[in-house]
Symmetry: D2
Subunit: 503 residues, 4 copies
Amino acid sequence: MEEKLQYKINLTDKVPFHNNALFCVGTGRMNLALRKEYHDQLKKVQEDIHFSYIRGHGLLCDDMAVYHTYEEDGEMKVEYNFTYIDLVFDDYLSMGLKPFVELGFMPEALASGTQTVFYWKGNVTPPSDYKKWAELIKGLVHHLMDRYGREEVVTWPFEVWNEPNLPGFWKGADMEEYFHLYEVTANALKECDSRIRAGGPAICGVDDKRWLTCFLKHCSENKVPLDFVTRHAYAADAPDRDGHYEYQALREPKAFMDELRESRRIIDSFPEYEGMEMHITEFNTSYTPRNPIHDTNLNAAYTARLLSEMGDVCASYSYWTFGDVFEETGVAYTPFSGCFGLLANGMIPKPTYWAFSFFKNLKETAIARSEHFVMTMDEKRGICGIGWNPVEGNEDKDITLEFSLNLSNGDYMLVTKVVDENTCNPLRAWTKMGTPAYLNKEQLDLLLECARPKVDIKQIRVMDDATVFEIPLSSNGLCYFEIQQIYPKADRGFRPERIRGAI
Amino acid sequence: MEEKLQYKINLTDKVPFHNNALFCVGTGRMNLALRKEYHDQLKKVQEDIHFSYIRGHGLLCDDMAVYHTYEEDGEMKVEYNFTYIDLVFDDYLSMGLKPFVELGFMPEALASGTQTVFYWKGNVTPPSDYKKWAELIKGLVHHLMDRYGREEVVTWPFEVWNEPNLPGFWKGADMEEYFHLYEVTANALKECDSRIRAGGPAICGVDDKRWLTCFLKHCSENKVPLDFVTRHAYAADAPDRDGHYEYQALREPKAFMDELRESRRIIDSFPEYEGMEMHITEFNTSYTPRNPIHDTNLNAAYTARLLSEMGDVCASYSYWTFGDVFEETGVAYTPFSGCFGLLANGMIPKPTYWAFSFFKNLKETAIARSEHFVMTMDEKRGICGIGWNPVEGNEDKDITLEFSLNLSNGDYMLVTKVVDENTCNPLRAWTKMGTPAYLNKEQLDLLLECARPKVDIKQIRVMDDATVFEIPLSSNGLCYFEIQQIYPKADRGFRPERIRGAI
Amino acid sequence: MEEKLQYKINLTDKVPFHNNALFCVGTGRMNLALRKEYHDQLKKVQEDIHFSYIRGHGLLCDDMAVYHTYEEDGEMKVEYNFTYIDLVFDDYLSMGLKPFVELGFMPEALASGTQTVFYWKGNVTPPSDYKKWAELIKGLVHHLMDRYGREEVVTWPFEVWNEPNLPGFWKGADMEEYFHLYEVTANALKECDSRIRAGGPAICGVDDKRWLTCFLKHCSENKVPLDFVTRHAYAADAPDRDGHYEYQALREPKAFMDELRESRRIIDSFPEYEGMEMHITEFNTSYTPRNPIHDTNLNAAYTARLLSEMGDVCASYSYWTFGDVFEETGVAYTPFSGCFGLLANGMIPKPTYWAFSFFKNLKETAIARSEHFVMTMDEKRGICGIGWNPVEGNEDKDITLEFSLNLSNGDYMLVTKVVDENTCNPLRAWTKMGTPAYLNKEQLDLLLECARPKVDIKQIRVMDDATVFEIPLSSNGLCYFEIQQIYPKADRGFRPERIRGAI
Amino acid sequence: MEEKLQYKINLTDKVPFHNNALFCVGTGRMNLALRKEYHDQLKKVQEDIHFSYIRGHGLLCDDMAVYHTYEEDGEMKVEYNFTYIDLVFDDYLSMGLKPFVELGFMPEALASGTQTVFYWKGNVTPPSDYKKWAELIKGLVHHLMDRYGREEVVTWPFEVWNEPNLPGFWKGADMEEYFHLYEVTANALKECDSRIRAGGPAICGVDDKRWLTCFLKHCSENKVPLDFVTRHAYAADAPDRDGHYEYQALREPKAFMDELRESRRIIDSFPEYEGMEMHITEFNTSYTPRNPIHDTNLNAAYTARLLSEMGDVCASYSYWTFGDVFEETGVAYTPFSGCFGLLANGMIPKPTYWAFSFFKNLKETAIARSEHFVMTMDEKRGICGIGWNPVEGNEDKDITLEFSLNLSNGDYMLVTKVVDENTCNPLRAWTKMGTPAYLNKEQLDLLLECARPKVDIKQIRVMDDATVFEIPLSSNGLCYFEIQQIYPKADRGFRPERIRGAI
């Protein structure tokens, strides 16, 4: 099936579009940030995309070695060790990233129970002693201010815990207990510096309306400090498990967005919180790190659409996660394991990687937008746009976007960068290779060569202050396009018409 | 126009094929080897292609600052300065390259005249004092042996001068004078170590039969040391100059090869020189660094054919040159100036770059070959081949190579890497940009993205011990292909049929 | 106190000296090899010192994610995941290191019990099923041969387990059980390729004579494959614990060596094992990673002496460990935590680092040796030596080595590189800084500047075919010295006597 | 001889001190900036010292290939080629350097004569056509604004020509001709953008008072644009030539400064130029690149004093030059050739390198200063100072600076970094090696080890709000010192008194 969609665009139009795709990105647990491959992947991501913040679990878990007790003179004493946190945050800052700090999970020696989450066993029980927890938070923040400077640390948001509305992440999903944790923590933060920004409740989309309403009510009634609201958003239905993998269907983008709009509405219903920043501190298509969808072109096309819309409702939206160094369900057996990352292990960009790299290039002002594209412009660098065409299921549905633009007369160059199932699909290339579990250098190099957008340049001559151009999008195609005025001027004696292949 | 060529290939066949494409590469004058961009280009070439030797002009020219005279106690004395030679050779060796040493041109203070060649003014007159010349050669070689070790230096060939059969390169193209220079030089080299290998006459294809015959006769009759014969080969006719550029037609590859075969025949006609190594110390399509053909896909396809045939006749053949840091006719005004390099300035691979990178991958044994392809095999890494389709002029002529192969049953992966006018043509991309003389970062990045082969992977299941596959070659297309047996084995639960786009 | 020791040395003498200091080095557990700081430290060590092999614990522990079970069709099945082992071994090989493979500890799913060792909880119980253990070993080796090549893998020694003679490392220190483990493992290795070399019993110096004797007897009587013998050696007495630290006295070097000589004697007492390689797969002064001695100049001077003597008795001796990324007793609170490494965290070379870098430079033939120095010579690069002066306790005892050498007449350069408590003592510098737990960039840079040998060059003119020179060694001083003949030749007009400070 | 100098310093004092040592640095001619070693040296200089601007000769010389003429339709036409200028300026900006643009020398095709300067033959004659010169300047500036942005280019000072008061640099040292050149050039610059800053007359200290007075008078009377005044300053007397070298005596620092003060006075005597910036666009001890003084510790100590005083009189002072890639008198025969650079070839820091690296660390406010030291302070990073002790001739004269400071009670760390003839003197080390002309890797590494400051840390406990400390300075010693308050806090159980060598 094929379809042509026609758009007539006026360059002086302005349409709402809040592009904040690069504000924050998610990561595997903090301890993994000590890894070399993690560093290498993140460095590449920062070179090509450059996020501003990064958020992940496990800052206070025992593999970060922060909280310790010992007996001395018959008394139990506490000591802190910030060595690993320093290593991780030093590395982030060296790559131009600030932490979007998630406070959790519980150090064993401070835990009230033994319940853990994930393969890596993060303790998810409340503190056995809230006073010691508050001391820990203050000790941490003071250490950070000593090392990185007070003015720097007050630019880092602090979020309390992760998805307490799930019993797996917070013992019993006990709402009151979480509110207490939040309150103690937020107050501890403010004691360090009143400018430090505290936020929660970091919930996912389960019983979320009730949780959000109660949380805001609790904060409001008890004068609990709250600087921003956080939640998560995923677009997939219940999974079907098969071996190491899980398969799911996607919800409609509109359903995904409606859930966020509802949260927005709840926040705005509190006069004192109206307009307060809502940060989506995790989002993705599927919420399981075993769904191969994350490695597909469908994921890229679907995510592109989300990126074009989420800024309408949210202050930011953090893709979960930048890379596949991630162990929540154990260590992946293959390079394409369905994990969340923009990069597969081996530093292979997945299609969704390019969605982010394309959004990076958008200009400040949008001049047109639909559910299939966004187009922006600035004076200096011309017109940029992104088109997408997500198609689930087995059928193909190709579309063509046709744009009529009132460009002024002159010569232009039209650059297109295409990522689709045929041109930039490392998952398929790997399948064709026979899905080798352990890539050798030749295989890896080959996959890297199969994971690059197809780039093309055309020249356009505009005659009557108007032009028409087409962006074809095959199924799950994603296309970045750019139009720039050029002023052709040949070197003395350079005659393309005399050179085979030059025109 | 389109054509299909069918080949039936037996895997156990062996056909002659002496692949020595990576033995040596040419370079701009030695002083340019001090440049940063030169180093960066050569480093990239070595990483991707890895030549064994490098040869260029100007080792003894005054910009290398080697030969000096001064007055002391009323007497003229000589002093040598090998500082820059060390810098250059250190750098070569650090990149896995050995010098194929060309001895020339003449230091001013030792010259008998003032005639120079090129923008950079290399003095091309005989020495004013042959004894001092011999001292210089010996001083140089002893210095090299001190620094790099005697065992290393005896692996470097030494060639005497460059194209003395042209009056522009050797005053008066004086044959007798050259023979004298050769004799003095060869003897000086042997004095340093009898294992040092001396060669000449480094002629180009002008009056070449007479020169070669006389040179060999001279050496033979006078017992002049000679370890190898050198000459140059270019495929272009007389140029038509226009501004900074020159345009030429190409000769048929057969004519190009016949000239070399004739040289081979002359050498073999001397019983004492029969079978002696003949090194083509320069070759390319056009001999002028102002012909845009060097930047085209035609050049790549034409050169690929030459690379497949030259080993039949020559010990080696050195492409002139690896990069565009080159100043023979001055400094280029644009990144695509028609210069010789595999890389354009800015580190942009030209199509011919990929021809060499593809020949690097060929296996040791050829199983089939025609004027459009060569196919090789080894036990471990399977079957590799290269196809090419050079088309001059304005007409297109696409061809398809169809191969029938007696592969044994099993699963295989067919990898293709295509470089043609539509997929990997940075010259055209630059033309579409309006031929900007000074590239900014965005333009350069874009050109790099337009200068990569299109890579594709297919799976083949062989059932009856035979398979047929096609390699389509559009005009001036160049295609590397590789067939490897695979043993598909899916991870537990990985079901490509459940993953959109995976198959 | 001061003392002068005089040595008269004849350049034509030869004395026994088997320098194998760079054969192997120890490391923290395999999972730590995924860390970035680990990689950076090891890279520096390889650049400056360059060991050939590396050995550490935990290859099969659960944080390497190798061994897994799952239920399918009502049956318990096993699957392997070699992803992390590949990452680690790829990295080693990229740095010129081969693994000295230690097989252990036990994956939880294959363990017969729950006893663990270390902060990182390595399971130290025998396999619950020896057949499955043997399958695992064979699966591992076949995977390694697939990835790295059979010819490569047969150059890697395989050692079975670690210190089974300690109950903490092997449940009950059960000797018979270990012999069984050894036998099953060695046979499994030989099944993969008979050239794979198996060794044990990897014991430390507790009840070691009995263990070694019984082990050899067991192998001998039961025809168990054995290609080399391994043991460990430490020079410290029982520790005194204080907070995060442990303090110990050192034994005399002679006592240390006698223990090894006794092992050698036991091996040689078995006719079939006479002369068999004995590898010391771990050695150091103290065996606890909390003893600050590892960070001192005493450690360097003491270790230098051991390095000069251990080759008399052992095939190799592997310093435990190259760096301080190490978590056996938890995560260090400060950069100088008394851990084993040659490098402190932050990439700060400890004094012992230089001992190894000096032994790297020794020539092949020793011409003199005492308990305070070793001196070597070769034709090409002259004379090299190392002197050391270990002094425990609070008293100082400086010595001077005076060498009389029958050097032939000429000019020489005497280079000395001194590492002692006053010139290259980062631990003291850090103490003077107030022992900051978390170093900022300025502090780290300063410590690096305080962690470099003091280098000096003197000129010696030998007149009567003899010279005398002195190497002063302050307490715990370590000095590398080198004598090379030089042929001074001034540039025209260079007059040191006219240049302030040049002579 | 020894001397003690005592200073009593009050921390609340402020003394004048305008530290602008890092504003600008000199370089060999622009074409050399294309070299790899040049780039590597400059990169190191920027990492360790970080200058803001860079200035050198030859921007318009023919080896930069800027200005060309050709005949077309019987007419002589002009074309520009900015390829090499772009390469050079791109590289500068990538290292955080802006050009301090020197306009000169004359392209051959625009020259009125053939007189040249230097080994590299810069044409020093006036333009044959001032209109074409003005076009060239405007063409250049417009190209720079296109590439780097108008806002960037207006921050680059433009200086007209170099040392026109010497006949060697400007034909006939013709003052009126220079004034004309200046006027044409300055007007051309202002035509491009009135904010572009023009300056001259770039004279050296020959007939300088008359030149400066006349130049300012000319500008004033003719309303010629002038934004800043430039001159050069060297401290050496007439040279004595010997082979490749020249030897000179130094003038007193006071005489050096008096010359600059006189220039300042002349400028200020014009009401319209009172207070106008005077930039010393070149300074050094000796003005010949063949004087070994540049490689000595004397040079470092003497320069340190100049750096402490020149800011009193000048807006900036540009050390001539950062490195020894420099060919004014030809190519150096040895690594220590007496050339101007802070770095010797091979990347060896000369003593003066450290003088600049030390001035980089000074704080903003000076609290004390003499002819032997400067001391500064800021709240955050404590007290920093530099001491120096230049001694010419053969006698030694050591001094000790004794400082009494009213530091408040507490613990402090005193860091000293010493560069003197005994501890950091690579020239002497090279002399001891026998002055090898061509360094091999071992020799180079050794020299690098001999070219590092000696760093030491002491702890000071201040009891009665006062302390006294000494900085000993041997002949030609240079010492950086830093005092920082520390808050010692030992890790639990860390007992330096139990650790040999820790205190």
